[in-house]
Symmetry: C2
Subunit: 337 residues, 2 copies
DNA sequence: TTTTAGCACTCAAACCCTTCGAGTGCTAAC
DNA sequence: GTTAGCACTCGAAGGGTTTGAGTGCTAAAA
């Protein structure tokens, strides 16, 4: 469909544009890349590429700029895949470990690292609580009428909530109830918490049972929004496309729309996925590109992580870095198991 | 020092400027405020106010703009204090309660609310862990070699960490150790964890003792940065002073310098404090003003909360809102007790 | 003595014009 | 098929003018 020279020209235009953020002209290409043809020839090729829709002209006397379609072709067919080094991998894992052993923190840290590696904004969707399984439930006496509920979920999530009770429970009463609850819940995934189990809990554990059920249900609901973390937004202001504050505001607002990310990153296909400009269904993000990957625990997809930036981004680098962070995160989470 | 009319003029200039963000001229004042004198008179007054240093002129044919010193006088002497309503107070408490009963979450939520009430960026310094006291320590068996350490601190902070042990402990061993640790630690503040206690713990509890001590010490260190939350940064981009992206970047960077906030908000004097422009010792923040207050648990200062914005801010409103959030937060935290 | 009307003056912002140059498309020759 | 050459386009940059908000000063009025 595209002969070799056209590919070379397209690639040259895109890579120059990614680097300089300025429309690139035929002479620049002729000078900077040794294609062995004159600018006039390149001019002809560029006109063709524009006709197919891979390049665009901001105005007639400016150079060319890649279109979304052009970037797509570049990402799929032209770009030189970049492979992260083993050294980078270890470095990243070390960084992550330095911080927290707790799953949600680890996910946040992964996002922060990704943002700093790419100089861009990163978004992480942490594993939805629905996929987690109860590993351990414990009621602890803290004060006269204060009971601490500790829920250990698998993998490596601990939730705790202090509750106030009407009745004052003794340590051994609580211990006994903990054992009972454990029996009921151990191994059950959050999502499989059917009404039967809940009703049993209310019936068997009285006041505490009531509170527990409310806590289980509300815990589930509340976490929805807490599950999306973003970082690195400020540094993206250095990108020339955001010299216009309005553009920047759009990006920031997009980052705050956590539901969008839940949906966008929910797709659990394999490998790194790239969404370019208008390919994105959300109108506010059609100037932006998203590069994302899923991460795994023991082979099962549990969440995803990605970067957002202007469509003019270094896709090869972004893909490599997202891949890097996603694998490192997957490995750490799996080891946590 | 300043006669009544000068005060009226200064106040009019500042309030107009806060509202419009444009340098204000003598005619505008004469028109919009009924001072009963002509623009020429106001012009003379403004010249005087400039001489004392309360007003400045961006250039000779522009109107006047308040100087830092002018804002200071306004805040101390001129501005009409705004009192939040009881209804707002209840509303805010309700909002806060809707979210979390856990101290750190509550602090974050307070920041988020403050940001949205003021359309500005808010920063919260959560109570430093050094001030917290151990209330309950518990080791829980989670898996063969996984032990969950739960630290309940007063007021209302729960920390937990999963640790891997060499030895596999039985539930009852862990229970016994929990009781021993409790005895040692209960009531001790984090800050008073002297080497004696730590040494005793290592001596008495072997492997677990080692891990516990490491955890206690590292926990202390790691939390430092985690203790500062900021929110509402994006909305501040709407302020006209940030139409220049460079300015905005400065603010964002300032918000990320958590140590600055720790120091800035560490000062635990009573009431709401206002730092205007150059009064701020940090060079990067000399275009910004900070309005902050401390919050309390049972009468004792534990942390502080504030807003940052351009020096042209609605000080009366900011002060009222910071006061509102700080009292609501104090009351909730105290009740948690 | 204070206030005010009047007026000359200043200066950024807005507008218009010109120039400059990067870049194009087309044509004709190689 | 390639390329040199050239006319053409159009944004960006620079320069000049106009406009208008705002000032300070002066002299007269209160």
């Amino acid at each position: 469909m595209l002969d070799d020279r056209k590919r070379l020209v397209l690639r040259a235009v895109i890579e120059d544009y990614i680097e300089t953020a300025e429309p690139v002209g035929s002479r620049t290409i002729a000078r900077r890349h040794q294609l062995g043809v004159s600018s006039a020839t390149i001019r002809n090729e560029m006109a063709d590429l524009e006709e197919i829709g891979y390049l665009e002209q901001p105005h007639v006397s400016a150079g060319r700029v890649p279109s979304d379609k052009g970037y797509r072709f570049y990402v799929d067919m032209l770009m030189e895949p970049l492979q992260y080094t083993l050294q980078q991998y270890h470095q990243v894992q070390k960084e992550m470990l330095r911080h927290y052993r707790e799953m949600e923190r680890l996910c946040q840290e992964a996002g922060r690292l990704l943002a700093s590696l790419t100089n861009s904004a990163a978004v992480v969707v942490a594993p939805p609580i629905e996929h987690l399984a109860f590993q351990h439930v414990q009621l602890l006496p803290v004060d006269a009428n204060d009971v601490l509920v500790v829920l250990v979920l698998h993998p490596s999530v601990v939730k705790n909530r202090l509750i106030k009770t009407e009745k004052a429970y003794t340590a051994s009463e609580l211990l006994e109830m903990s054992m009972g609850l454990n029996q009921k819940l151990k191994g059950v995934t959050y999502r499989n918490l059917g009404p039967t189990i809940l009703r049993e809990i209310v019936a068997e554990f009285g006041e505490i049972g009531h509170v527990m059920v409310e806590l289980l249900i509300n815990g589930l609901v509340e976490e929805k929004n807490e599950q999306v973390y973003s970082s690195g937004a400020p540094q993206i202001l250095s990108q020339p496309e955001f010299k216009d504050v309005e553009k920047a505001k759009l990006l920031f607002e997009a980052l705050e729309q956590k539901e969008i990310w839940l949906k966008l990153l929910a797709d659990d296909s394999e490998g790194v996925q790239v969404t370019i400009g208008k390919e994105n269904p959300y109108a506010d993000m059609q100037d932006l590109s998203v590069v994302k990957a899923t991460y795994h625990v023991g082979g099962q997809v549990v969440g995803s992580i990605g970067v957002v930036g202007p469509t003019r981004m270094d896709y090869a680098r972004m893909v490599a870095m997202v891949e890097l962070i996603a694998s490192a995160l997957s490995e750490l989470l799996t080891d946590m198991k």
